[in-house]
Each structure stands twice: as C-alpha cells, then as structure tokens.
Symmetry: C2
Subunit: 396 residues, 2 copies
C-alpha cells in the first residue's frame, strides 16, 4: 500500500425529498446570493428547478440562474458564468442536474476569484487557490462529480477535453434523491452505469501490491452496480435499485476505492478524445473502449484480470490457465455492457467514427501536458493505435 491522503469532506444528504433542504444547506455554508447553474429543460419539466428556487427563497437567499450546460460542457458557458457571477456578486455556486452542470459549476467557482483565464487550471498552467463555495443537486448517477475532486471541460476552439483535479473541487454538500433519477432515459442511465464502472476499473487495474481493502471495496461496488443496473433499466421507478446505483456512483469516484494505490485512467484519456471529436456520450465511449483495452492489457498481469472475473463476475478460476479466466471476465463485462444497451466497440458507438481517424485521435491523446497515458501499463503511441484499432470492430 502506498502512502496517501484522503479527504472527502462533502456533506451527502441522501434520500427522498432531500432537495427541499437546499436553502438551509446553502445558508449553513455561508451563501447569500446563489448562481443556479443547470443544463436543459429536464430540471424545469421535473419541477426540480422550481422546488430549488422555493427552498432558496424560503431560506431568505437570492439567486440568479444560468442554464445551457450540455453533455461535455464547454468553456464558453464557463466564461459566461464567471462574468455573470462577478457582475451579480454571487457568493455561492449551486449546480443542479447531471455531471455537466456540476462540472461547469466547479469551473465557474474556480474561475470567479481568479484573475487569469480559468482554462489555466485545465491546462496545468495554474492551480486554483480560493474558490467560491459550491454545492450541488445531482440527477444523473454517472460522473461521480458530486463527491469527486474532478471537473472536465471541453475547449470549443479545438474541441480539446481536459480534466482538472483539486481538493477545492469537492462540493460542500451534495443532495442525492434517487427519485430525481426516475425519469432518466434508458440510454443515459446505462451510460451512467458504464461511467461509474470505469471509474472503479481505472483504480482496480494497478501495479500496487497488497491493496486488499480497496480491491474488495471496488469489487463490492462493481457487484452492486452489475446487479442493480439491469433492474433500473427494467423498472425505472424502482427506488431501492436507483438508490444503490446513485450511492455507488458517488463511491466509485470519491476515491474510497482508490486510496494507497496507483490508478490507471488511460481508458478515460482515450475516451475524452472520442467524445470531444464526435460528441458521443462519455459513458458509451468508455464501454466501447474497455473490452479492447482489457484485451490489450491482459498479458501485463493476467491474475489481476482473473481476480475481477472470479470475484465480480463469478467465473470459475482456471488455475492451469489464468489468462483464460481473465478473458472470461472480459467476455462477461462486454456481455453486461450489451445487456444494458451499451456499445462494445467503436462501430456500435457511432458510425461516424472511421478507422482513418485513429491517427488524429492518437495525436490528441498524446497532447496531454504530462505526456503519460495510463499507469498500469503506460501506453506508447503504438499501444494507443492498437487499442483504438482493436476497439473499432471488437467482438467477443
């Protein structure tokens, strides 16, 4: 186990009707004038926006609103939000909706007190110092942004998608009501499931030895998701299954399953370029890349993949040939993705993706400031090309 620091200070307020506490929570954490930052019309249609405003007003707080956060949130809206907050003297950012509004809200919170260009934080040119206090109401279990130290923004000028991790990105509070996820369309629900599974797997595939407790927590989360994912697709208003998925999605990315170990995150790096170039859903992109990534990486440590196969997917261990067990796990994972309507290769993901695009995608992946792609077995250019090519028409 490696030395680590773990701090997940967010107050998670979980359950039915909890959105009505938002006014009191903003007040508790010192907000007086709130930016409500959201995405499209779903928070209007569901009545969440109205209930949020009512709760803020009941607590004696004023607010301004900024909608329009889209999947793969973009820098232009962040600039608009920063300007609005400065003009209106906003002192608290409240993201409501899916991961995009909350990620975009985190960028605004960091950008308002910063004199330079907020993109500096996303291009490793600067670290955020003081940020505006921020909280959220999450309606889409997927990115884990409600508990994580991360935010991801796409720069529109060149469609470069970049993440930023810092302790100040952890929300002060996160309101999590499973009922708010009942109306999610099946495809979005499934993309969320794939995304949270990827957050766990990116930590699971590690070279660090003796990490039993985090391995087992990761497996606990994966087993929970694999069992409840199909239930929420079959019964969208099953409260208990939605609750399992919602809470597991937070735990998947607040790093409770990642302490004391090297992470990989190369699948995320490869996917970020896919969704930046084709605007595909992040979770679907992850599902489409993961089986091919696993196939490429099994030789690096077959036993680690066999452990996943045995413990999470109940595969029998082949003690004479662990690699065959590892491949059984790869098959089970791909079959699971298919069963929830996720693609398992790039052709299924989006027919606009062409084999000829692979060199351009690879070049964009390599443009990362730190240059390294993954830690489990770091990917050289040839590996990235091989994974994209294998993912293009991967089948079991």
């Amino acid at each position: 186990m490696l030395n680590f620091t773990f701090k997940s200070p967010t107050e998670f307020v979980f359950g039915r009707g909890t959105e009505d506490q938002v006014g009191d929570l903003v007040k508790k954490y010192g907000g007086t004038k709130v930016l409500i930052h959201y995405g499209g019309g779903s928070v209007m249609r569901s009545g969440l926006y109205g209930r949020t405003v009512a709760s803020l007003e009941k607590a004696g707080l004023s607010h301004v609103s900024l909608g329009g956060a889209k999947p793969n949130p973009v820098d232009s809206l962040v600039y608009a939000g920063i300007e609005l907050c400065r003009k209106e003297k906003v002192d608290f950012i409240l993201g409501i909706g899916g991961g995009s509004a909350i990620d975009s809200g985190k960028a605004i919170a960091a950008g308002v007190p910063y004199e330079g260009d907020f993109w500096d934080f996303y291009s490793n040119k600067a670290k955020p110092g003081e940020v505006l206090p921020h909280g959220c109401i999450i309606t889409l279990p997927a990115t884990g942004t409600e508990g994580s130290d991360s935010t991801v923004i796409t720069r529109e000028s060149d469609m470069l998608k970049r993440g930023m991790s810092a302790e100040c990105n952890r929300p002060l509070f996160a309101i999590m009501n499973p009922e708010l996820t009942f109306t999610l369309p099946p495809y979005q629900t499934a993309c969320g499931v794939a995304d949270m599974m990827s957050h766990i797997l990116e930590r699971y595939f590690t070279n660090t030895r003796n990490v039993e407790v985090t391995d087992r927590i990761a497996e606990a989360l994966l087993m929970t998701i694999v069992r409840n994912g199909p239930i929420v697709l079959r019964e969208p208003e099953n409260y208990d299954a939605r609750a399992e998925i919602l809470w597991a999605g937070m735990l998947a990315h607040n790093n409770i399953c990642g302490t004391g170990r090297e992470h990989d995150f190369s699948v995320h790096q490869l996917e970020h370029e896919l969704s930046a170039m084709y605007d595909v859903a992040h979770g679907a992109g992850l599902a489409a890349l993961t089986p091919a990534w696993i196939g490429h990486q099994i030789p690096h440590n077959p036993m680690r993949f066999a452990q996943l196969a045995v413990r999470v997917f109940g595969c029998p261990m082949n003690f004479e040939d662990p690699t065959s067990t590892a491949r059984d796990g790869q098959s089970k994972l791909a079959a699971f993705f298919r069963s929830i309507g996720m693609p398992v290769n790039l052709q299924e993901l989006d027919e606009r993706i062409k084999k000829d695009d692979i060199p351009a995608l690879t070049a964009k992946v390599k443009r990362k400031p730190d240059g390294k792609v993954g830690w489990f077995r770091p990917l050289a250019d040839a590996d990235i090309v091989a994974i994209y090519e294998s993912a293009f028409d991967w089948k079991d």
Copy 2:
C-alpha cells in the same frame, strides 16, 4: 434504503513517516497552542512523543502535555484536561496513542468551551456546540475513533460507561502510520481486530432491506480483517497487513458501511457494562459476547446470518435449512476469535465474572437514558439475561 446524511470530513494522512507532518497539519487547521494528550509510556518509548514535539516546534507551535489516559478512559482526567486547557489557553487538542487518549481528547475539546459539566454530553442532557479543534495520531487500530463521530468515557464514581456521538467529534485530521502499530502486544492487536469487526457487525445486523452496497462494503471490510488479522499476529512488523488492518479499522466505524440503514449496537451496550464493572478490554468483551448474541438472534432473521456465513466465511449455503448455515457462520466467527487469542465466552474473558453478577449487569444496561437496547431485535430484560447467561459458558 433509508434517508441519511453522511459527512466524514477528516483529512486522513496515511503511511510511513506521516507523523512528521503533525506540526504542519495543526497549523493548517489553525492551532497555535496544543494540548498533547496521551496515555502511558508507550508513546515515550517508541519515540512518537518526541517526534510529535519536534514537529510542532518546527512549525512554530507551543504545547502543553497531559498523559495518563487509560483503556476505558475516565472522567477525572477529562476534568483535569479541561482545567489545564483553560488555564494555558490551549486552542488545539492533539490526541496521540490508542482510542482512549483520542476519546478523552474529544471530551476535553467539547468540555473546554462549555460552561456546564462535560458529562452532560454523555448523559444526553446537552449537545456540544462549538468545540476546540482537534486532531489525532492513532497507534491502535480498534475503536475507529480517528474517523468516527463517537467518544466513550467512564464515570469513576459509579463506573458508568457512556458514549457520545456528534459531528463535532470527527477529528480534523488523523495521522495513521502502520509502523506505529508494529509494537502493539498480540492481545491488544487481537482486541482491536475484534472491536473493528464488531463495529461492522453492529451495522450489518439490520432490519433495513435493499442495502446491497453497504452490505457488500461491510463484507469487504470483514474479509480483509479476517485475512489480515492472523498475519499481523504472526508477523507484527508486516507493514502491508498492518496497513490493511489500520485502514479497515477506520472504515469500520466512520459509517461508510452504515449509511441508509438501522444499526443495532446492542452488543456494544452489553459490553460497556462488562468493561465498566471488571475493567476488561473492550474488544475482548465484544468477542466474548458476540457468539452468544448471534445464537440468541438467529431466529429473528436466519437469512441475514446465512449471508454473513456464505459471503464472509465461505460457508456453503444450505438452501433447505438456512438456519444451519447461519450457525456455521457463528462457528466460523467464534473459531476466528479463538485463532487470534480472543475469548468466546465470559469465563474465558475474565474469571472474576460470576453468574450472580448478571442481574446487576442487566440493570446497568437498562439504565441507558433512551431505554432501548439494540434495533435489530430490541432486547428486553429477559433477552439481556439470556444473552449474558448463554455467553457465560458459551461453546460451539
């Protein structure tokens, strides 16, 4: 799943040499004059006390010290600590050592700014408001106090042992270096293992349905502890196994495995009176009561005990007779306790305990202010007597 709020804001600084960061951490959290509160000579012998003072001084902080915290920490030392802190204008409490020094430090932190008797907090007469900021360096994985919202103190006048739970009891930081646990005697190590297992089991035995993610996290922790407990007894300086136990012990009680569900905690209530009356080690007392408690409670929900047996102890499920599987799990747990040198009944725990004491013990359990003993199947007087009697000479 029940509605819940979860907030575990402590900054956990984990790994080799991390105690040297203590000065910087106290400073980061605003301390200038520190009470170092500790137990006996072990922190002196190990050099931890000296390194702590050196780190505080390097950070430009002054300190006063108060030793003497004993297992089952007592109110008289808390009163002494409160007086010392007021006199010396201490603004930060640092507990170093096992759970006792840290629990006692939490009581001091709550008592200093309070005008009344700090015991009010432990007798449900008052809730702590503002408390002095506090952090800790933990050297004994057991009580989980380094991450929990709890503290337990014994009133010497009548040996009444009472807990107090409040958010302000969560330390601002907890330094956790597995190396500091190398020198723990085997009996104390094993008591710690039993204590942390009990923290998990008290949450595991619940009537709340559809709590898969927390069930599986609880099982993850139990499996980790059951595998690594014997290793640390066999190889006291095995860093990786000590690290697993140390981190699992925190996770066992910061409530990450207890969100959204009713807890029981009746074994703790029965044990508190044992350790108050006979001054036995808390963990050993829990081990001595748990098999009898399970035997008494299996009829309430055999499947829940069978789940523990199958998932944690690898027992084959008897689908025709789940109660027999439940009993297999009870046997495996008792055998595990024996294997690490823990008692599995009261006679083994301490020969001073007499059957004639059971009515007095029962009366003390019932003196709890809220009157209720456990939630899984709340214990009436007759149940408490039956469990103590069964525990007296329990054998498999």
